[in-house]
């Protein structure tokens, strides 16, 4: 097909011993992009500070936050929060052009920060904002970016080992960016545990000028229409989640899942096939391509437990699985199993909880 010379064999690159080019040797410290919008830090950024702290300690370097926004005074709370969740230093870029997220000014500022201060690792949340920004920044810097990591570690050579599901969640792979800096990775909300907050912990702050002019930015935000009761956030951050799968046999039986969730004051969702069959909206899908959850209790009714579902629920403290098939993979990672028909068992469990809660309420 091509008359050009033969490229080197595929294996040679991966097997090559890497020597980091001289210009990247000064790249140091672990950064977390602090997603700050509407006066608040997105929880995923705090989860990443927890994870970034471990990486920084392993490398013996600093953990640094980068926060961008429109109003410097209002951003002080975010700076303090970043310190209290583990940042040693926070770069603050306050400029009217950064008030609402737009790709172009945010990409320019992040690229500028990287070129000035040279981090070795940057972590971002795999939110719509983080993914929009990460892809543009990595391409501008011509460096490696690994999406939706489920595990981050530092290998013996000090390189970031970023593990993520691959092939639709049927396998995991570990990816390295050996010859380029910074090494970039995104992580979905709730994949990492929320770290503890050390009240009063302080760090340093460096103000960095954006040097942007509004007339220079082509994209304009005409309006922002906030979501009403975004159930997205509630599902990902709920303490109790009840979910159904194809074992429920019909969309009507999702009512049994909802009823139990209601008694427990929790949220409800379902596995991927339910969305594909049109039984429920995509917002409620639990799993690798849906929401990752870390509840105290997860009750899975009629869900077989494919790997792509497993990676989305493994962070739960206690998993109770109900399935008619005693060999279903869900019993390999659930804590308690009930081999029975969820359609019959869910109403019994709902009734039993309701009874317990009303009796004990009267007693107390």
């Amino acid at each position: 097909m091509s008359t050009a010379p033969t490229p080197p064999a595929a294996a040679s690159r991966a097997g090559m011993k890497k020597e980091l080019p001289e210009r990247f040797k000064s790249y140091k410290h672990v950064w977390v992009f602090i997603e700050y919008e509407h006066g608040e830090i997105h929880p995923v950024s705090l989860e990443l500070l927890g994870e970034g702290r471990k990486l920084a300690d392993k490398l013996g370097v600093e953990l640094i936050g980068a926060v961008l926004g429109g109003n410097r005074a209002a951003m002080q709370d975010a700076v303090v929060e970043a310190w209290e969740y583990g940042a040693d230093l926070v770069y603050v870029v306050a400029d009217p052009t950064l008030e609402h997220y737009r790709n172009d000014p945010y990409t320019r500022v992040m690229t500028d920060l990287v070129n000035n201060y040279k981090p070795e690792i940057i972590l971002l949340g795999a939110t719509v904002l983080g993914r929009d920004l990460a892809g543009a920044v990595a391409t501008t810097l011509l460096t490696g970016l690994t999406a939706d990591c489920t595990e981050l570690a530092i290998d013996d050579e000090g390189s970031l080992a970023a593990t993520r599901p691959t092939f639709g969640g049927s396998l995991l792979c570990t990816i390295h960016t050996l010859n380029f800096r910074p090494q970039m990775a995104t992580v979905r909300p709730r994949v990492m545990a929320m770290p503890g907050r050390t009240k009063g912990r302080q760090g340093r702050v460096i103000e960095h000028a954006a040097n942007l002019q509004e007339f220079d930015i082509i994209t304009k935000v005409l309006r922002f229409l906030p979501d009403r009761n975004s159930n997205k956030v509630q599902l990902a951050y709920a303490d109790i989640v009840v979910a159904g799968g194809l074992g429920l046999r019909s969309p009507e039986n999702l009512q049994l899942v909802r009823a139990l969730a209601e008694v427990l004051g929790g949220e409800w969702g379902g596995s991927r096939p339910l969305v594909q069959k049109g039984w429920m909206e995509a917002e409620r899908q639990i799993g690798q391509t849906g929401k990752t959850i870390r509840p105290k209790i997860y009750i899975a009714a009629g869900i077989s437990g494919a790997i792509q579902h497993r990676v989305g629920v493994e962070g739960a403290d206690t998993i109770i699985a109900i399935n008619t098939d005693k060999n279903a993979p869900i019993f390999d990672f659930a804590h308690f199993g009930v081999v029975t028909n969820a359609i019959e068992f869910l109403p019994a469990l709902t009734t039993a909880f309701r009874k317990r809660l009303s009796v004990n309420r009267l007693a107390s």
Binding site: S2, T3, P7, P8, A10, A14, E35, H100, N103, D104, T127, V128, L129, R131, D132, A134, G135, A136, T139, L142, T143, G144, L145, A147, F167, G168, L171, L172, C173, T174, I175, H176, T177, L178, I218, T219, K220, V221, L222, R223, F224, G265, Q288, K296, I307, R310, I320, A321, F333, H335, F336, G337, V338, E344, A348, A352, F353, L357, R361, S364
Partner: protein, 284 residues
């Protein structure tokens, strides 16, 4: 108006199986489909073409068999199919992929007119990275509009476009200049069935096939494994948990008794749970 839609041929993930012993993907016999997210991009492009006039060029990078996906796209109504295929592209990560596709879009522009809009799906179902769209935008200095739910207005005279974009916690209405790159959100339109004439045309059409050289890529060190900063060091199956689920006895006990048993076990491992549930229940 000229619109380019980037699509990818992917294995139908519902049918992917992993070899139980070697933990490798069993690709043989797995049917391929157009990445489902790309179909929403294609439909939006066709809708704009029907509304404003012009042409839709569909571009894909992949092995020669990826021509099948182009024929399908032509069968749905696209005007032209371009296949970018070369062994130099093998092993591309998202950075190398965006380089090759951006070069091809540039060549498409030189050949059939500079596109006002380049579309992609929001992500693929095999890689799930959502990185190639932004990569193409950056490399071609296009305005980047990701997670677009609807294109509201295109003003060809003043070269502006207005879209609704899914953002964190809400929807942004954005106005920007064309040319722009749009990654289209799923479920935002209903993908049409091609007419019989389109399907026949798709089956017979002559596709444009480019390799690295004919696509105008002079420096292949930006392509494939060599042009990819990321390296996959290990592929493995997740570790099974050391202990399997404790099975609650079912036998011929009635459902109510089993339920009581489950609750007792749960309260035993999470002592604070009962009090928390009572607080929630009291708040109703």
């Amino acid at each position: 108006m000229h619109i380019v839609v980037c699509i990818k041929q992917v294995p139908d993930s519902a049918q992917i199986r992993v070899h139980p012993v070697t933990n490798t993907i069993m690709r043989q016999g797995v049917p391929t489909i157009i990445n489902p997210y790309d179909l929403f991009a294609l439909e939006e492009a066709l809708r704009l073409r029907d509304w404003l006039g012009g042409e839709v060029t569909v571009l894909t990078m992949g092995p020669p068999m990826a021509e099948e996906s182009l024929r399908k796209a032509l069968g749905i109504g696209a005007d032209r199919g371009v296949l970018l295929t070369d062994r130099f592209f093998a092993g591309s990560d998202t950075l190398a992929t965006s380089y090759a596709l951006a070069q091809a879009v540039r060549k498409i522009g030189e050949t059939w007119g500079i596109p006002e809009i380049v579309f992609t799906g929001k992500q693929t179902i095999d890689g799930d990275t959502a990185q190639v769209g932004p990569g193409i935008a950056r490399r071609l200095a296009l305005q980047q509009l990701t997670y677009v739910a609807a294109v509201q207005e295109v003003d060809l005279e003043n070269k502006t476009i207005t879209v609704l974009r899914r953002a964190e916690g809400g929807v942004q209405e954005l106005k920007t200049a064309i040319p722009a790159l749009i990654t289209m959100l799923e479920g935002t339109n209903e993908v049409r069935r091609g007419t019989i004439a389109d399907v026949l045309r798709g089956a017979r059409a002559e596709l444009v096939v480019w390799n690295a050289q004919t696509a105008g890529i002079t420096d292949v060190s930006n392509c494939g494994l060599r042009g990819s900063p990321t390296v996959v060091k290990r592929v493995f199956a997740p570790k099974p948990r050391a202990t399997k689920a404790v099975q609650i006895e079912v036998g011929d006990r009635d459902m109510g008794t089993i339920a009581e048993d489950v609750i007792a076990r749960l309260y035993a491992v999470q002592p604070a749970l009962e009090a928390a549930l009572l607080r929630t229940a009291a708040a109703y």
